[in-house]
Amino acid sequence: MIKIKSIFTIRTVFLILALIPVLALVLITINLVMGSSTAIGTLGLKLFKGVFAPSSEAPPVYPNSLAYGLLPALWGTFLVVSISILIAFPVSMAFAVLSNDFSIGWINTMIRGIMGFLSGIPPIIYAVMGSTFFLWFMWPKFEGKGLPLASLPPPNMLPSDSSCNLLGGIMLALFIIPFMTPILDDAIQNVPNTLKEASFALGANRWYTLMSVTIPYALSGIVNALILGILTAMGEAIIVAFAIGFGARTLPSPLFDLLQRTAPLTSTIAGLSAGGLTGSHETGPIGLSVASLMGLLLLLVAFALLGVSMYFQRKFKKGLPQ
């Protein structure tokens, strides 16, 4: 016989409350899987086409003419995330190194304060500033300002609407830097001083110690920061929606063209679930289902990367002396 009093302990209350995030995650996954079943059933292999053109799917539905290829959005995600990580990772690494081993005087306190201050800036601010940055830096560099009309390329070749992939990558990089720097800072700070001092005692200078002692020891933390940065860049919707747009029709014609607009998965989902922000379309059930499928892809990538990060942390904890 179970005593009723023993069930309602403080432990049970904590257990129930602590299981809510797990439950939420499971429900989100189930919802996305259920939602994406329509798209997989209707479209099947046509999801891997290179054309993405959401239609209204007004009756009668012609499944053969539906073009919901995922490839443009996937390629856009890859491009934007790689630009932003390529910019943000070295910069935040430099910040983290400056605030630990290479600190002079009060530089470390100042960098930590500034990064804590900047991490509060919400993404909408970067999104609003995107078009201003385009006007200041991108437009004079990549568009024919002061060029005679005859020598201009055709107008559809120029970046317009103050949006391009490069701009999205740069704004995302600015957004990620205050996010990644504290994690990298923690990882480098947690390296035991005894290891560094042993290296100094053997005659190594600071740069050599950093390269051959500190960074290899902090590698698991650095990989963790990198993965969290990739996930944040991949999941950010507002900045890329403002800086790139709500949907890409096709793959860019030279694949690595950064001055074109290839909207990533997140803003494509936003455009689809808003019913087509361009105003010319209304997306039907298949469009919403494709949005769920894209969300499921994002979720699976996030799970895989988090698993890799956890594996790295566990492996390095076992392998190195504490």
Partner: protein, 464 residues
């Protein structure tokens, strides 16, 4: 043996030359580092502005010559660093390349054209930064300490560029937002409705519309605070209990599962939560009470029921999924920072585990929890990804059952309002930077307070 005058003279002469040569090397390397520094500066300016790239070509020549000189001055320290010579060669090649560029580089197979200032500025920075490192190294006599110091430019150039970017953002928002900021804007709610007026003419009722317009953002500011409050109410108990359960009660497997799910909730995209929220909003049947509760309702000036897209409660439930991991992590940090002797002392004088938890552990970790909560509130006030498709203009009031609105959504609607068919953009479009400034003040105030609490935490007793 007496030295002959000739030998004496020879010795003095060779010593003198050694000294002068070492002085010469110092001056040359100092000059090289100065030129490299100026080149980096000019390269960065060229990346920012368009009209100064013609002045860059003399700097390229100077840099080539000084790098070549640096190669020969490095010989004084008995080092033959071929990479400097290679760098000088690259610099010479790029000088020829840059000086032969037309103003616009047309005909590339990309969607756009490239101005030559971009190419030349990039080349300048890429060549001058290692040049600066090498010249500082040889200026400081090529010692191991000089090797450390010579790497500072590699660390300082990217950080300074990033800080300039952040400064530009903050200064632009503040200078544009402060133009329109006044008290009446903050104390008036936004309204754009039509009041139906009934007048009697010749014994018949005649209805006419009167437009009611109010410029202001009181409801958006209040909505931001309401979102923060509701998010706190939902996420604080859950987040704290996640932290306590993982630290105190959970076994190895359960703690791994809970840790993974909280981390995953933090790092999955907000847009996934948006998709889930939209499918939750579709659940209740239209017209039922739950439909009104879920979608948020309010009454306009004629007393007509207006049903929105989502209520504050639903929005804050989904935002709190983002905030729970923050609070859980900071609670765990606080519990882990409790010195073992205090915990064991409490147990040894006869307190039960629950009593210790409520009276020792949680009060100890209270500052940590508050820090996490403040960061979470900053997150909630700026969280737009979750609510930007399910919130409205906020003119029907602000209460937990009204339609969601916040400052972040205000800024979004000022840009994309027209595609939703809203009037907010037409009336309030010029106030978007003011709203951005208000949002910045709220979030930065919260994060700064969290920072101050965190700094004070490092001063307390940490155990033996």
């Amino acid at each position: 043996m007496k030295a002959s005058p000739a030998m004496k003279f020879h010795r003095i002469f060779s010593e003198k030359t050694a000294e002068t040569r070492s002085n010469l090397v110092k001056i040359l390397t100092a000059g090289t580092s100065f030129i490299a520094f100026i080149s980096v500066l000019v390269g960065c300016l060229t990346l920012a502005f368009n009209s100064i790239e013609t002045y860059l070509i003399p700097f390229f020549y100077l840099l080539t010559i000084s790098l070549a000189i640096l190669f020969f001055s490095a010989r004084w320290y008995h080092k033959t660093q071929w990479s400097i010579l290679i760098l000088a060669g690259v610099c010479l090649l790029s000088t020829i390349f840059v000086s032969s560029l037309p103003e616009y580089w047309v005909g590339l197979n990309i969607h756009g054209i490239i101005h030559r200032s971009f190419v030349s500025g990039l080349l300048m920075v890429v060549i001058a930064a290692p040049g600066l490192c090498y010249s500082i190294f040889y200026f400081m006599r090529a010692t191991p300490r000089a090797f450390d110091i010579s790497h500072f430019p590699l660390l300082l150039i990217p950080t300074v560029l990033a800080l300039v970017g952040f400064t530009l953002i903050v200064v632009y928002i503040v200078s544009n937002g402060a133009l329109h900021l006044n008290w009446s804007l903050l104390s008036t709610p936004f309204k754009s409705q039509y009041r139906i007026i009934e007048t009697w003419q010749n014994g018949w009722p005649v209805f006419s519309n009167q437009e009611v317009k109010q410029v202001g953002m009181l409801n958006h500011v209040l909505g931001t605070f309401l979102l923060m409050g509701l998010t706190t109410l939902i996420s604080l108990p859950i987040g704290v209990s996640v932290g306590v359960f993982v630290k105190q009660y959970a076994g190895a497997k359960l703690s791994v599962i809970i840790n993974f799910s909280t981390t995953a909730l933090r790092s999955i995209s907000g847009i996934i939560l948006l998709v889930t929220a939209m499918s939750v909003l579709k659940m209740p049947a239209s017209g039922s009470v739950f439909y009104n509760f879920f979608h948020g309702y309010g009454y306009d000036i004629n007393g007509t029921l207006q049903i929105g897209r989502s209520s504050f409660i639903i929005a804050s439930v989904f935002i709190s999924l983002l905030v729970i991991p923050l609070i859980a992590r900071s609670t765990l940090e606080g519990l882990n920072s409790l010195p073992k002797e205090i915990y064991e002392g409490s147990l040894s004088v006869g307190a039960s585990k629950e009593h210790t938890l409520l009276h020792i552990q949680l009060p100890w970790s209270l500052p940590n929890i508050i820090t996490g909560l403040l960061l979470g509130c900053a997150e909630a006030s700026g969280a737009l990804t979750i609510i930007f498709l399910i919130s409205g203009s906020g003119q029907y009031g602000v209460s937990p059952l009204n339609e969601t609105t916040s400052l972040a959504y205000f800024i979004f609607e000022c840009r994309y309002g027209r595609s939703f068919g809203d009037t907010l953009q037409n009336i309030m479009g010029s106030y978007q930077y003011t709203a951005a400034l208000m949002l910045l003040i709220i979030t930065l105030g919260l994060t700064t307070t969290a920072l101050i609490i965190k700094r004070n935490l490092s001063k307390r007793y940490k155990g033996a």
